[in-house]
Amino acid sequence: MDLPDISPALLRATGDGFAQKLQARLIELADATDDEAYASRLRLVASGRRPLRTLLSDPKWSEAFAPQIQILATPPELDEDRRRALDDAVARAGQRVVLPSEVEIASDLEDVMRRAALTEAAIREDELNGWAHVHGDADHDEDPAPGER
């Protein structure tokens, strides 16, 4: 099974294991839900046949993770000491950041555009069918998976 279709720059930043952990979590979520249409969408995302970010527009995903979204969308209050410590640590982490090369940026941008088009198409299709369509393995076969690009 191919890995989720996500930003290549993110893969470079997170290194080995991240994509696999993400895939495992998506499959876990698919196995846990009774909603077959939602499960099929999660499996498409897990296998890289549907970009990860389609989940942001997925009403089932938003409903399932509403509490976590609320929490993460509100930065916590930090006292002065913890704020200063975090700022220092982030500054040190920033010094270790490897900026992408011009070639990598251009390649990344092409990938951004590719995923944007796929995302828009996928969301439009599911909006038209009320997010009720159960996607099978035969769906989206014509879309190239990340490993085949």
Binding site: L22, R25, A73, P75, L109, A116
Partner: protein, 364 residues
């Protein structure tokens, strides 16, 4: 000694000068059509800074082209005057035409152009052939999405909450980056503008420079041909000096226009590099916050890991924010200080440090 002047050749020179005056008029129209003096393409702080002198540059360019036209018209008038005086007088040697030619450069005694002066090779059929449509690969419609920062959330299919998540992550990890302002509004304020039009303006400046290069060569050849029919004598020497100074003034322009082309084109490409990098960085952040929502990695644990320094690598969301902030700082720093080796370092140096030294066109 009787000086025999072929006034038909002199009149031919006058006509040719008039034709060149029309061509310079064409350059003025080209300037009006392709160099936006109102700077309607300036919106972001970066472009505002890089092109603070645009109105001054544009004014100098317009003034130079207008003076060039006036000079060619004056040249036409002077040569017609020469032909008329020689036609009216039986003894050419007694005709004084020096007063018809002003001293364009009183500070120098310039070597006059004569019939023996070498002709210059021309790259174009005529100077006006240089005034082609400006071109820039940054004007490719496919690049429009990169320039349109405020549309990035829609382009990246960011839901309302997606945008909230991104801003919250930035606010937590790098509150100094936007100071609490929405990331997209912040970036638009800094980086936006019709940079493709800046690149086109750079191309247009380059073509005007090419126009002047060809104009200088054409005027020199006009003068060489002229003096074949107007042998050396006081009047011809004074006119020869006039033409030499005219050619020199025109020939000094291409370097200035080349500098303008470099400055504008390099600025546009530096902005392109920055926008590309930021769009890619934000794209990364979007996927990172989705993973964080699903608990693929706990942001709280990752922040704790940052504190321990040698601990686990920070969570994707944390890394993504740091990387995005660093990318922005790098791109912005490179453009503002021209000292950082970054995306478009070479272009940045050109944009930030090239000063434009205009060489004035003499008054007629």
């Amino acid at each position: 000694m009787t000086i025999q002047v072929d006034t038909s050749i002199v009149r031919g020179g006058a006509d040719a000068s008039g034709e060149l005056a029309s061509q310079v008029n064409g350059a003025l129209a080209y300037f009006d059509g392709h160099i936006d003096t109102s700077q309607s393409w300036v919106t972001g702080a970066l472009m505002d800074w890089l092109l603070a002198e645009h109105s001054t540059f544009a004014s100098n360019v317009e003034s130079g082209i207008k003076r060039s036209k006036t000079l060619m018209v004056a040249t036409q008038g002077a040569l017609e005057g020469v032909a008329q005086r020689f036609d009216d007088t039986e003894y050419d040697a007694q005709v004084d035409v020096r007063d018809l030619f002003s001293d364009l450069d009183p500070t120098a005694a310039t070597t006059p152009i004569t019939s023996s002066t070498a002709r210059q090779g021309l790259t174009l059929d005529s100077p006006v052939a240089a005034l082609v449509e400006p071109e820039s690969s940054l004007s490719d419609p496919a690049f429009e999405v990169v320039w349109n920062i405020l549309n990035w959330p829609d382009y990246l299919s960011l839901s309302y909450w997606g945008r909230q998540l991104i801003n919250a992550a930035v606010q937590l990890i790098r509150p100094d980056l936007t100071g609490g302002q929405d990331l997209f509004e912040f970036l638009a304020q800094k980086l936006s503008g019709d940079w493709d039009k800046v690149a086109l303006a750079g191309s247009a400046f380059g073509h005007v420079g090419q126009f002047f290069e060809d104009l200088a060569a054409t005027v020199q050849n006009l003068a060489v041909d002229l003096f074949a029919g107007w042998p050396s004598g006081n009047g011809a020497d004074r006119a020869g000096e006039y033409f030499a100074e005219l050619v020199a003034a025109f020939a000094a322009q291409p370097e200035v226009y080349g500098d303008l082309k470099t400055k504008y084109t390099d600025a546009a490409w530096a902005a392109w590099g920055a926008c590309q990098a930021m769009l890619s960085a934000i794209d990364t952040l979007v996927d990172a916050v989705i993973a964080a929502v699903m608990g693929v990695e706990s942001v709280a644990e990752a922040i704790a890991a940052i504190f321990t320094l040698g601990g686990m690598a920070p969570a994707a969301a944390v890394s993504a924010v740091i990387a995005a902030a660093e990318a922005f700082s790098s791109a912005w720093g490179a453009m503002m200080t021209a000292t950082t080796a970054a995306i478009a370092a070479g272009a940045t140096l050109g944009a930030a440090t090239t000063t434009i030294e205009f060489v004035p066109i003499p008054e007629a």
